[in-house]
């Protein structure tokens, strides 16, 4: 084994671990974003006004 190969082996080991680490972090980031910002149906302005109106009528 040449010193060049040994260094390449070390880079390969760190590199593959690094990629998995990055991806694991991005995976957790996606889970976090999904939890913090779940999908909500966007309401139109008309719906919002309508809803506010109904609340006022209820009062």
């Amino acid at each position: 084994m040449t010193p060049n190969f040994e260094t390449a082996l070390l880079i390969a080991a760190i590199g593959m671990t690094g990629i998995f680490l990055f991806m694991a972090i991005f995976y957790l980031l996606i889970l976090l974003l999904d939890r913090l910002m779940p999908f909500r149906e966007e309401r139109t302005e008309e719906e919002i006004v309508e809803e506010t109106g109904t609340e006022e009528e209820d009062l």
Partner: protein, 383 residues
């Protein structure tokens, strides 16, 4: 006045020039007749012809009358666009604007295949170092396995500009050959029973716009903190994606996806061709690099499929992954996903693997850029 003085290009023509002109014609043929990555291979093919006609003014030449160098346009493009990394980074903005990360939000665990399928990069780097290439050259050859042209160009132009021509040709050619390279490797590694596995398909899950906007910003910050050297690659990709997702720059997003991508690809292809001169290209090295590139793609597929099988060891019956999905962890998007979906349908016409395959493939797009960034960070420490 002899023919040599009248037509000096003919006098200077060697068999190596003719071979390279033949290579140029072959690339043009593959681009037009076979539709193999035509946006890149056609300009590269034409450029190869352009730079292999002796005394071509497209390249820098010494004026025999004055002894001064007359700059060739392709050398100027190279210095301005490739040596500075501007062309590939602009392409990253365009690619970022094309990527939709919502499939990843639907199947986030498939992101890990984007890591596993980079295995070929590092194995090829090891193999190249065994063959006597220094670390920088070996890393540049290995990065062909990123299956991502701009990443290969950025790494090779920084670490081994002398090998840029064959590395780019290999990267783009094999990306186009994914439908031919991957299926036999997958069939070799999986049983029919495994290829028949159906996967649940959460394709109806809607993703919040806010999450899609925050994602590229957060990824850039995280990547920048961990590996600042990777930021030019990841940052430009994520910037393009933010332009797409923000919802207020639709015109710019469309321009990035269309005009910017087309123009820069055109310039990138013809500029890379400036390195495809006979003196640089007709060498044993070129054949070795092209062979190692194939090796990288094969072992990317191997890494992805084997990792899927490994993950299945920990999953309940009925919730297993179809190991073919692992092969989509490469960056060739959406070709790899399409290949796997078609392979699944061939085994069982009612098995729809397209959505999980796309998720893994998007993971591969991130994975390849991360791999490039990690190599750019690590290699200078050791070399």
């Amino acid at each position: 006045m002899g023919l040599e003085q009248l037509l000096p290009a003919i006098a200077g023509m060697t068999w190596q020039h003719l071979v390279m002109i033949g290579v140029g014609v072959l690339l043009i043929y593959l681009a037009i007749a076979r539709k193999y990555e035509p946006t890149l291979l056609l300009p590269m093919g034409f450029g190869a012809i352009l730079v292999n006609i002796p005394l071509s003014s497209a390249l820098t030449q010494i004026d025999p009358a004055t002894g001064e160098a007359v700059e060739g346009v392709l050398n100027i493009f190279f210095q301005a666009g490739i040596a500075t990394e501007i062309f590939p980074l602009l392409i990253f903005i365009a690619i970022g604007a094309m990527i939709d990360f919502s499939p990843l939000f639907r199947n986030p665990s498939l992101l890990l295949f984007g890591a596993a399928a980079q295995f070929g990069i590092f194995l090829t780097m090891l193999f190249a170092s065994l063959l006597g290439y220094d670390l920088r050259e070996a890393a540049s050859i290995g990065i062909i396995g990123a299956a991502d042209g701009p990443t290969s160009i950025v790494v090779a132009s920084r670490f081994a500009p002398n090998l840029l021509g064959p590395i780019s040709v290999a990267a783009y050619s094999y990306m186009a050959l994914v439908p031919i390279i991957q299926p036999p490797v997958i069939r070799l590694l999986t049983s029919r029973r495994e290829r028949l596995i159906r996967m649940s398909n959460p394709s109806n899950k809607k993703i919040s716009k806010k999450a899609l906007i925050v994602f590229p910003i957060a990824v850039t910050i995280v990547a920048g903190i961990i590996a600042p050297s990777s930021l030019s690659l990841i940052g430009f990709l994520m910037f393009g994606n933010l332009v797409r997702e923000c919802g207020v720059l639709n015109k710019l997003s469309l321009s990035a996806q269309n005009e910017l991508a087309s123009l820069v690809t055109l310039l990138l292809g013809i500029t890379i061709a400036s390195t495809m001169t006979a003196e640089r290209f007709i060498r044993v090295d070129t054949l070795i690099i092209i062979t190692l590139g194939l090796f990288a793609f094969v072992f990317d597929t191997f890494g992805g499929v084997i990792f899927a099988k490994f993950m299945n060891l920990f999953r309940r019956e009925g919730n297993k992954l179809n190991p073919m999905i692992g092969a989509c962890g490469i960056s060739a998007f959406p070709m790899s996903a399409r290949v796997i979906h078609q392979m699944g349908q061939k085994e069982d016409p009612f098995n729809y693997l397209l959505m999980p395959a796309i998720s893994a493939n998007v993971g591969g797009q991130i994975g390849s850029v991360v791999a490039g960034g990690i190599i750019l960070t690590l290699v200078p420490f050791f070399a």
